[in-house]
Amino acid sequence: MSDPASTSVVRARGLRKHYGGGEGLVRAVDGVDLDIAPGETVAVMGPSGCGKSTLLHLLGGLDRPSGGEVSLHGRRIDDIGEKALARMRRTDVGFVFQAFHLMDELTAVENVELSALLAGVSPRAARRRAEDLLGRVGLTDRAGFLPSALSGGQRQRVAIARALSNQPVVVLADEPTGNLDSAATLDVLRLFESLHDAAQTLIIVTHDARIAATADRLIAMRDGAFVDETRLTGGTTGQLGALVGLED
């Protein structure tokens, strides 16, 4: 680990993803450089079609770039074989999607333990870990429920527990609150805050301002490129009163 870049959990250089060609060429991701520090929560915001979901897929090895580099934990993933990539996705990355993507025929705890079982963890250890994770997302009493018996917010919390099951180096979340009402959104916000406090590295792609506002760093994306980047920490404490007309 002598490479200084290996201090980044996620690193991208000149990352590109183009579709089609000629007149119809779409530059979904067009020259992105990115460094995510351990324990950092980063939100990527932008209008639909700006390339933010494609970016997330490239960072998590769900899709191959047209050019440029991606490294996770100091290891290049853009030039490795399919098998190695699939293994990396199982062990290093936790995914959270807008539509939850739970297995309908499996209970909550079975959904959570599945990826640990696939990674070769013993059934007993996998079950114990899944139960711990369900406790962490506040769903111990729902462990035996099928997804269809859970609310949207509960399903997303199961999905987040599943994303954590292999202790990933990074959790990648694509519009995690896109299908949730405001109370369920708040549950997911609290959960992400607790992950942040536990130093879990987290990248969230969203256009929900509430979830973006929980990030340490915010990246605005347009037409496949980063156009603005800012740290949200530091805040505005003291100005809150002005928002409700208590100060002028």
Partner: protein, 175 residues
């Protein structure tokens, strides 16, 4: 501090200054941190001069502001009733920012999208603070409800900025 707010805090019963401040603090939570105790007493003195509040000295005769008991006079009660019944709502001032974008683009002074990005950053910082404050409140807190209002308004402003972003992106690529 708005006079009517201080008056309304006395509507329940005559109170010591510190009781009145505690009521405000419970209602406002962290948003009340900006409130200056001195301001409350300045307002009470004004209200007393205007005949809306009457002051009783405490039994020990001390003249310290927080040892006095404040009560609404009949005029004060009348004023509170009118204030409660008034229909008013804070006006959002969006026109200024809107005109800023138009002027910046027309005169080539700045890229409207950069202005949108800068504004969004600021609003997201506020949203972050309001949200954290809301999450730190217990479920039954009155202040949490106020903070939810702040969060919802900021979300609305941020959605409008998104609309601004879309429009000015189209304009820029169209020109």
């Amino acid at each position: 501090m708005q006079q009517e707010v201080v008056l309304a805090m006395l509507a329940k019963e005559p109170s010591y200054g510190y009781q009145l401040r505690a009521r405000l603090r419970d209602a406002l939570g962290p948003l009340g941190d900006a409130m200056n105790d001195g301001q409350v007493y300045v307002t009470l003195t004004r209200l007393e001069k205007a005949g809306l509040v009457a002051v009783e000295r405490s039994a020990d005769g001390a003249d310290r502001s927080d040892r006095k008991v404040y009560a609404l006079t009949p005029d004060g009660q009348q004023r509170v009733a009118e204030w409660i019944a008034e229909v008013r709502w804070p006006r959002p001032d969006l026109a200024e920012f809107h005109l800023k974008l138009i002027a910046a683009a027309a005169a080539g002074l700045a890229d409207p999208l950069t202005l949108v990005d800068t504004q969004r950053r600021e609003l997201l910082r506020r949203l972050r603070d309001a949200q954290r404050a809301a999450m730190a409140e217990p479920d039954d807190s009155d202040a949490a409800l106020l903070l939810e209002g702040v969060v919802l308004r900021l979300q609305a402003d941020l959605r409008w900025l998104e609309a601004c972003e879309q429009r000015w992106t189209v304009r820029r690529s169209g020109s």
